[in-house]
């Protein structure tokens, strides 16, 4: 370690002679400008700076300075962290730290109002820089960078923007804006949907509910009634089946995938005609919170009751062995039999109820689920 430190010091000492060759003044200027943001990693900063100045002084003041001819010049690394493990990251981190210190008092925006930036993830940064940056270091660095990004845009210094650039992704996808789809001059709206490997394009026009898919009628395109329904599900749930004509092209995948891709495309095209339908159509994707919550509580109750019932059953003792066992019918006494029977009945009823109430998890069909939801609310005293 000491030898490393020594060599580093030597290098720094050598820099004077190296830079003097090209332009001494420029290097001094650069050193002076960078002094605020540059930080070295040796513990001998002050001494070294001092030594460097003294050396320069000595060189310029020496009588044979003019004759001094350096014959062999060794290349100098530009970055002082050249010999550290993560050269570039160190430089940028130091820069960010300095910037954070320097501009820490500028007014900031609340985080949700700051301009959204696509930061590089740790892996992306590693890939971009080619250094195995530690997760902890990167996290602390990116936290500083995010703090810097909150500076009010009107006061954002150029320096900070430059310093943050290595941590930003090349393309800020948050700036992407979806192209607005409009109803064209023929009154058609266009929607695209994908599902598995099927891609569907649907054009909706006001009409009477006629459907052509790849030039075929709906019954030719989909043999299953289920697929036909799911292809037009958006229109069906919104009661718009007789208000629009659909002309669609769909390719790739199987029939079910095609039907569900069409469902997406048709719904999108429908929202172009009637933007107010977007919210209820989107809601179809997931279940509302109270439903999930209720259902979970309900299921827990059922499990509890059933497990109690099972325990009640196993609590019977066999007459012969005086151990807990499943007794043959007729061997237990009357009261325990009745108790057991009622508990079992309640348990079966509840399990049956649960399986009947919620057979399709995850598929949200508004009419069906809302009805179920109502019954659930009426059952549970929550």
């Amino acid at each position: 370690m000491s030898s490393l430190r020594y060599s580093l010091r030597c290098l720094r000492d050598l820099r004077a002679t190296a830079t003097r060759q090209s332009s001494l003044s420029a290097s001094i200027k650069a050193a002076s400008t960078c002094s605020g943001t540059r930080r070295t990693f040796t513990t001998t900063t002050a001494r070294q700076d001092d030594g460097f100045e003294r050396l320069q002084e000595a060189v310029t003041q020496s009588p044979d300075a003019a004759e001094l001819d350096v014959t062999r010049v060794r290349p100098m690394p530009l970055s002082p962290s050249y010999f550290s493990r993560h050269t570039q990251f160190n430089d940028s981190f130091v820069l960010v730290q300095d910037l954070a210190r320097k501009y820490g008092r500028l007014p900031i925006l609340p985080p949700n109002q700051a301009p959204r930036v696509a930061w590089k993830t740790k892996e992306q940064y590693r890939l971009a820089v080619g250094e195995a940056v530690k997760a902890r270091d990167y996290a602390s660095c990116i936290a500083l960078a995010k703090r810097l990004n909150q500076i009010h845009p009107d006061l954002m210094p150029e320096e900070v923007q430059k310093g943050l650039r290595p941590f930003k992704r090349d393309i800020n996808f948050y700036l992407n804006r979806a192209k607005p789809i409009l109803v064209d001059r023929f009154g058609r709206s266009h929607g695209v949907g994908r599902r598995k490997s099927s891609v569907a394009r649907a054009w909706l026009v006001q009409g009477t509910g006629e459907v052509l898919i790849n030039g075929k009628t709906l019954n030719d395109a989909f043999g299953r009634v289920h697929d036909r329904e799911s292809a037009l599900w958006g229109l069906k749930v919104m009661d718009r089946m007789d208000k629009y004509n659909v002309w669609a092209l769909v390719e790739g995948g199987g029939t079910t995938g095609q039907a569900e891709a069409l469902a997406m495309a048709v719904s999108k095209a429908l929202t172009v005609h009637e933007p107010a339908l977007k919210t209820p159509l989107k809601k179809g994707k997931s279940m509302p919170y109270p439903y999930n919550f209720c259902a979970r509580i309900f299921l827990i109750c059922i499990k509890l009751v059933v497990s109690l019932a099972i325990r009640g059953k196993s609590r019977e003792r066999s007459l012969a062995m005086s151990k807990r066992e499943r007794c043959p019918p007729g061997s237990s006494d009357k009261t325990s039999q009745i108790r057991c029977f009622t508990i079992r009945l309640v348990g079966y009823f509840l399990t049956g109820l649960s399986s009947r109430r919620m057979p399709t998890w995850g598929i949200y069909r508004p009419d069906w689920h809302e009805a179920k939801l109502r019954t659930l609310w009426s059952i549970l005293p929550i």
Binding site: T208, G209, E210, V211, T217, L218, N219, D220, V225, R228, E229, L232, K236, D239, M241, D242, S318, L319, A320, P328, G330, S331
Partner: protein, 472 residues
């Protein structure tokens, strides 16, 4: 020496003495047997009255593994269905269902209201007489869902009125209407054919119906070469057809008498005989075809009632049949004499003095693809619409000239889906019959109409009545 005891357990024979005496004799009551174990008791209950209780086996709780004894399956007591019974069950036609609700307020179909444009979109019942005639001529198909309703009713759609009008107009002018009903799968082509047959029966025409063209060409019925001819007759089928004609048209045929001398016939046919008697004169397959020819000639004489000749499954008779000639070559369907009779009539080679309607109904379910027929129908449709006639593909060499001859100058009736008011009438009928448990309103009607590919009848039935259809 073989031991009476189990080899694998180490219980000594003397242990048997420990078994309570109560076990060895009568089956004990549960209260007294519970002294030692319940296993013996269980076993005794399982074995019942058998002499297993003598404890030659070891007493062990739980399951006993008994090898070498296969469990006998209980013998099937029922008799297996006789040959043909299953098919008969599959092909049975049930025209009424007492469980279905009766729909009040529906009028019956008559010769007048079937040509009345105001009856479009109404459900009309088939009259009893016509029902019997239709049943005799096998107009009902096993795939149609008549068995869901109290009594047979049909929807009068725009095509029905159009067809009935064409039929009555042509026959009123003593012309021949040659028409092919075509359209997509399950659009109601056969049903339209049935309505046409009903029109024929109600107007007192002589109706001859071949219910399945396929039956004649798939080598399923007997055939024999006609003497001094290149044609082949299908005697058994002809006898069957004769009986159907007799049953369906008896009251008309009995009004007309034989007017020609049929000296060449192997059976004696007098001049005073009625046509009904002529139709019923033979059940001998070898005489069937000559008698049928004589019958046909009688029908073509002037002064006879108009003829309606219909065939379902047109594409099946437009191909080379599965029959083989004595030189083991495949016979073209048009060389089968009965089919030749039909194709000549459809192609306009036969002249009918009293007016006639020749109907060919296409089928799309089990359908051979016949390019000649498709092209011929395309050309006929174009000619009917006054458009330029599409030429044949010059690079396709398998066109069948006989098919083009058979379909020369026919009219085309292209059946499509029903309109929304018609669909609504139909769904209301279903709901009133108690098989559609849905509110019939604008929303539901248009939904089913759309799901059925713009009101294709079979698909509407599928979409709406999926749960209740019969498992055919």
């Amino acid at each position: 020496m073989a031991s009476a005891n189990c080899w694998r357990c180490l219980a000594r024979p003397s242990q048997r003495l420990l078994v309570p005496a109560s076990l060895l004799s009568t089956p004990p009551t549960p209260a007294s047997a519970a002294t030692f174990t319940t296993s013996a008791q269980l076993r005794a209950v399982k074995a019942g009255s058998k002499d297993d209780v003598n404890l030659s086996r070891h007493i062990r709780a739980g399951k006993n593994l008994i090898l070498g004894k296969k469990k006998k399956r209980p013998a099937d007591k029922g008799k297996p269905p006789a040959s043909g019974e299953r098919k008969a069950f599959r092909k049975r036609i049930q025209l009424s269902n007492n469980n279905a609700l009766e729909v009040p307020g529906l009028s019956e179909m008559t010769a007048e209201n079937i040509v009345d444009p105001s009856s479009v979109g109404k459900i009309l019942g088939l009259p009893e007489v016509v029902l019997d005639q239709l049943r005799a001529s096998e107009a009902f198909k096993p795939t149609q869902t008549w068995g869901l309703f109290r009594s047979p009713h049909t929807l009068i759609r725009a095509e029905t009125v159009d067809l009935a009008k064409q039929l009555t107009d042509a026959i009123g002018k003593k012309e021949t209407l040659r028409l092919v009903i075509t359209g997509d799968r399950a659009t109601g082509k056969s049903m339209l054919g049935l309505q046409a047959l009903a029109t024929g029966f109600m107007n007192n025409w002589i109706v001859i119906n071949i219910p399945e063209g396929q039956e004649l060409t798939t080598a399923a019925t007997e055939y024999s070469q006609i003497h001094n001819s290149e044609q082949f007759s299908q005697p058994v089928y002809t006898v069957k057809l004769f009986q159907a004609i007799f049953k369906a048209n008896q009251h008309i045929l009995s009004q007309y008498k034989v007017e020609m001398d049929h000296m060449h016939l192997p059976i004696s046919v007098n001049r005073g005989m009625t046509l009904a008697a002529l139709a019923n004169v033979t059940k001998e397959p070898e005489f069937a075809w000559p008698v049928f020819q004589a019958f046909w000639k009688e029908l073509l004489l002037p002064g006879r009632p108009p003829i309606m000749f219909a065939l379902d499954g047109l594409s099946h008779i437009m191909r080379v049949s599965d029959y083989r000639s004595p030189s083991f070559e495949l016979i073209h369907s048009h060389d089968l004499s009965l089919l030749r009779l039909f194709t000549d009539a459809l192609g306009g080679k036969t002249t009918f003095a009293n007016g006639a309607a020749i109907l060919g109904v296409c089928t799309k379910g089990n359908n051979p693809i016949i390019p000649s027929m498709e092209k011929a129908l395309e050309q006929a449709a174009a000619a009917q619409a006054g458009e330029p006639i599409p030429p044949r593909d010059p690079f396709f060499k398998k066109y069948d000239e006989r098919v083009f001859d058979a379909l020369r100058g026919v009219r085309i009736l292209n059946v499509k889906g029903v309109s929304k008011p018609e669909a609504r009438a139909l769904m209301e009928y279903w709901a009133a019959s108690g098989i559609l448990r849905l509110r019939v309103d604008e929303k539901n009607v248009s939904e089913k109409w759309t799901l059925a590919g713009c009101g294709i009848l079979g698909e509407m039935e599928r979409a709406a009545l999926y749960d209740v259809r019969s498992p055919v």
